[in-house]
Symmetry: C2
Subunit: 131 residues, 2 copies
Amino acid sequence: MNMRADVGDVVGLDACELRMVDGPRVRRVQETLPAPELIEELANGVFGLLADRNRLRLLMSLLEGGELCVCDLAASTGMSESATSHALRLLRAHRVVKVRRDGRMAYYSLKDGHVRLLLDVALEHLRHGDE
Amino acid sequence: MNMRADVGDVVGLDACELRMVDGPRVRRVQETLPAPELIEELANGVFGLLADRNRLRLLMSLLEGGELCVCDLAASTGMSESATSHALRLLRAHRVVKVRRDGRMAYYSLKDGHVRLLLDVALEHLRHGDE
DNA sequence: CCCACATCTGCACGCATGTTCATATGTTAG
DNA sequence: CTAACATATGAACATGCGTGCAGATGTGGG
């Protein structure tokens, strides 16, 4: 792909179906890509969780409120308690939130500072995206 | 939701449908939540983009390869050129990547360091998630 | 014990989205 | 000019996923 490349290095069993310009660079890139399992864990992990507006609201509520029970989270975000509980299950499973039980009550809070960090970067990106 | 709260502070037009425990805290949380538009921009922005395995692969390819044309990105990630181009359109629209044109060739690269930062945090989360 | 309460869970539906297919668009070579 | 090339784009389909609904589970009070 750089200026010295032999343009049109056609590879693959069906040459017309797989084109590339800079074979060595493509191979180097492929070798550095993580295993598919890790890619899935990233995509379906915190990124996937933060890619939903209601889960974002939940997490931001926890950032502000510290620790909140399910019904207060539902009230804060305008979600049903069922949807809230579903969402929290996912957040628990990915270790984004932790739960403290007190009798019938379940209080949720953020497990670590990663959500805040991620939000900071994303907001920074939005702010500077107009350059 | 804290120990001093009046439990069962029922509010709303349909009282049975909206429960909360700590009214003042819920209100404070609601007041701090960003506008719906900002929430959507976050969810559909970098988080949404990174929540897809193929787009993750594309971005990681750019992290390693620096600048790559569409067909090399497709070859690196194992995606079709059409799917690659579609994905790049989204990444362009959200200012995650930039494009340099040279004749028929379009070379893509990351626009800033935000993707790297986000990936660092997400990987950190995965690594420490087992604590 | 029964009943109330708070939350969790499973199933499935409706909606969202990534990819395929076909074509459009822009650049270049002969 | 025509044809080839690289990429972009639109429509639609197949797949994925968030939420509603119903019920299950666990805790606590009388």
